[in-house]
Symmetry: C2
Subunit: 341 residues, 2 copies
């Protein structure tokens, strides 16, 4: 695909409500094109505009670095575009969306752990025969939540848990940011937890942090919720932990190799076509996890409330308009050169 | 069925975990028989023991009044056995279980409204194709919850909502019990609410209180949760309100004519065999409600946590043992004669 004549920005992975909101904010002054597909699903070989905007599932081809002027990831995490940025010429600018959805994500985490504590999937299927066997859940009151990664989102999760009269233990490299949180090591924390919530950014040190060897130390029946990045809790490890009863339930909003998983689930790709054997095994394990009765899986949708969508689209529009007007972003990715013209 | 020789108590509607716990507490001193069936499903024509214990779905035949010594309803509500008690001889004693599950029920209400606000059923089905269209939910923060019936359970619901930074409006005949709650009339309350939670006891004045004519005054998209009694929000009215979009979602743990619904769902009874036309239409409407994407239905399970089950079984055992030892209950139904011997 060649550049669309007169098109300034192509938005990949744009969902219905997001497109609607962005059109209202941008369409009078900027030429935009929207698609729900990833770059890979779109089959684009060359950049279709000077600016491209993705969410978390597109991989920007490294060959686009020389002809693109700017990229915007419409997400708070930007680990997925760092490899592309680092291999690109210094004049390419990159933006992300800081802190637009912390409360929305924290509330989705709370929804997942409450649904797991109350065996909601079993309650719902028991409704078919109005049966009550095996549906005894547990109350939130007094339970211990271990929050792994106490940043913007993790601190909101801790706040919600405390408001619900739960105990909170934090795990973070920095234990001085939130003085009212009790911190301890990951190993001590998981062994005391009723619920472990992963809210960490994906970095070299958090990758596979919630592995089989870490989580096998939990008390049997402990619940795990991940609303951060799937790569922190590898799918094959989770499958083993739930099958052997070490974990009593898993709530997932994010998945390891999520872009591959999404293409397989959308039917555009066969599992066997995933070349990398490690990735294929992980996606196969995720597909099995989705079938487990005590696994609740949501489609990377924790950010998606009307309130956060409004902030997100406004932030996106401000970045686009700022770049077009002045050649710089209002929320550039930290560490990346940000020239003012 | 004749009385079981040497059997002191028959427990109807006993689910797996409940039977297990009651056996531990009672089986050394009392002869008990347990069944998951209702009295009607058991086909018992005469009382099988001096004491029978039910939950909310059995109807005690009025003919049993003269030969039974005592009944225990293992529920906090006792509206369903009042007609039987009132038509029975004065020496028949009756017990219920006060306040064993207020927190458990309040937490199930919170689970239901959070799941509805976040369109959880749609999120879960969208996971099949990893789609995100139409999944934009709303945040709890700042939303207004109208609690109808501010008693033991309603006040816990209000407490949880406030802890989550939501606004609370109470509706109750008595507006002086909880001074930190703002009360107003049902009509003013429903028109301001984002979420209406029914936590009222079933009485003549609460029956069909949340009818079509009351609820048509809500703002379009308002959510309704009922964890109290189905008769307060008639199924045919709810079906109309969700179909026309007046209600945006409904979370139900209880159902109108729940005993009939349960027998139909368990396959023991045909819908068309329900003689009363009003009851048949209501059950038919409930069955249609269960198919609506934005209706979450749970099998009258709000009370069912490990914590409340422990309190419930302990209370039940204390009533049984108290009656056998001294001929009186520790938690008799208020207004019923309670002789001490």
């Amino acid at each position: 695909m060649n550049k669309k004549p007169g098109c300034d920005v192509v938005f990949y992975e744009a969902f219905e409500e997001e497109e609607l909101s962005l059109r209202k904010l941008l369409d009078t002054s900027v030429k935009c094109h929207y698609t729900w597909k990833t770059i890979q699903e779109s089959g684009h070989v060359e950049p279709p505009a000077d600016i491209v905007s993705i969410r978390t599932q597109s991989r920007i081809p490294s060959s686009w670095g020389s002809s693109l002027r700017a990229v915007i990831t419409r997400s708070t995490g930007y680990d997925h575009i760092l490899p592309f940025i680092e291999s690109s010429p210094a004049q390419l600018l990159a933006a992300y969306l800081p802190e637009y959805a912390a409360r929305a994500v924290a509330e989705q985490a709370m929804l997942l752990w409450t649904a797991l504590l109350r065996k909601m999937p079993l309650q719902q299927s028991a409704m078919k025969t109005f049966s009550r066997d095996g549906l005894t859940g547990r109350e939130l009151l007094g339970k211990t939540v271990c929050v792994v990664g106490v940043g913007r989102i993790g601190s909101q999760i801790a706040g919600i848990a405390k408001a619900l009269d739960m105990q909170v233990i934090g795990v973070d490299i920095r234990s001085d940011k939130f003085p009212d949180i009790t911190y301890c090591s990951i190993h001590d924390a998981v062994s005391q937890a009723d619920i472990i919530v992963c809210a960490a950014s994906l970095t070299e040190s958090s990758k596979a942090l919630l592995s089989y060897s870490t989580l096998k130390k939990v008390r049997p029946g402990t619940l795990l919720v991940n609303i951060a990045r799937g790569e922190i809790s590898p799918s094959e490890d989770l499958l083993k932990l739930i099958r052997e009863g070490t974990l009593g339930g898993i709530g997932l909003d994010v998945y390891e190799f999520e872009d591959d998983l999404a293409s397989v689930l959308r039917g555009g790709r066969e599992l066997s076509s995933i070349e990398d054997i490690e990735q294929m095994n992980s996606v196969a394990a995720t597909l099995e996890l989705l079938q487990c009765p005590m696994v609740i899986s949501l489609p990377h949708n924790a950010f998606n409330t009307a309130e956060s969508l409004e902030r997100k689209c406004l932030n996106t529009a401000r970045n686009v308009l700022g770049f077009i007007k002045s050649g710089s972003f209002i929320s550039p990715i930290p560490g990346r050169r940000c020239p003012r013209v």
